[in-house]
Symmetry: C2
Subunit: 218 residues, 2 copies
């Protein structure tokens, strides 16, 4: 008999322990922590001399996404048995809950683990470096933001395409499908796309300027 | 009874048809076609005014990798039944042969298909655009090469990590493991890494120049 709420129903998860926290408690904690991070970075970034508003928003985004990658996705990537947790540990609760929208997390699908591992180990720290790079106006600021955004987009593409190829059958109900599988991932499609386009333009502009300068020197 | 040479031996491939071309014929055709492409681009690129040697080599690489992505990997991504081919069609022969180094190709592993699909559809045409961009000295030349290289590296990372997570058990023998799984993929780790580092430096240098100019204007 299946002892878990996930689909497909023939998925075997020995020693599964159901969620101890409610959905609203899990979402509220993530929401409140995120608002706190954004507010904190918004306030601190205000002290950077002559910084543009868009750069302050970007610092908030990179802090939020970087911490999400390192803490939430980092825990998942290296905790193959999170669904056995009996202690109500918050990060295990998050992934027990999210697996209702995509059971490949509980099932430890290799594609999902690979993408989450790359995201946590490389993109997480790189996102935090972007916060610093923007604040200090580093020359590598745009190319770093471009690289991380492209990594996020590639990861999301692999995530959605593999699920599609396997029949898109991993959500417990349309409610969880829309809220977690689609809703929770949408930001990581839209925002990295916007940032990648912006960085592409900025980098091309600087390159064009350098090209003109070289032509003049000739 | 298993009717194919691949491992794991419990992989089921109904209507599998063995290779009709020999290994040496398959490899020689790819090798000769590649040398032809590189020679052709090397000769044509020589007519671009004031072009550096490194840029001519890069044009050769982008033409070679772009055609590999579009033709070989494009065929694989959209041909789920290549292993049933009875006609000796070259591209089906290539993937029947390569599957000896990684049976996930014949087994249609979702992670492999997702990565190959992205590579063929996005990175293939983008690689050919890079040939043009270098020849014309376009301002987007470096950021385009950086983007495609990063995509190649991400794809290769997902490719190797998923195999590792599933027990690295997809090669018929150490010979095929080393020649195909490691050997054939090594170029797509080393060369994109070198190109990504080069583009990163070029882009940072242009950004620094622009930064200095702005400071002067102030």
């Amino acid at each position: 008999m299946t002892n878990h709420p996930y689909v497909p129903r023939d998925l075997i998860l020995n020693d599964y322990v159901p969620n101890l926290l409610s959905q609203s408690a899990i979402l509220a904690a993530y929401g409140i922590a995120s608002v706190f991070v954004v507010l904190f970075i918004w306030l601190v970034s205000g002290k950077v001399p002559k910084i543009a508003k868009v750069d302050r928003w970007l610092m908030c985004w990179w802090a939020f996404t970087g911490l999400t990658h390192i803490i939430l996705e980092g825990y998942f990537a290296f905790s193959p048995e999170f669904y056995k947790d009996k202690s109500g540990f918050y990060l295990a609760e998050v992934w027990k809950e999210y697996s209702k929208g995509d059971s490949r997390y509980a099932a430890r699908d290799a594609g999902v683990v690979a993408v989450e591992g790359i995201t946590a180990v490389l993109e997480g720290p790189a996102s935090l470096l972007a916060v610093y790079a923007i604040a200090k106006g580093k020359p590598y600021s745009y190319i770093l933001q471009f690289a991380v955004s492209l990594g996020q987009l590639y990861g999301t593409a692999v995530y959605f395409i593999t699920s599609y190829l396997e029949g898109d059958k991993f959500a417990t109900s349309p409610f969880y499908y829309n809220l977690y599988y689609i809703g929770a991932n949408a930001s990581w499609v839209v925002i990295p796309s916007l940032i990648a386009i912006r960085c592409w333009k900025k980098i091309c502009a600087a390159q064009q300027l350098q090209g003109q300068k070289k032509t003049k020197v000739r």
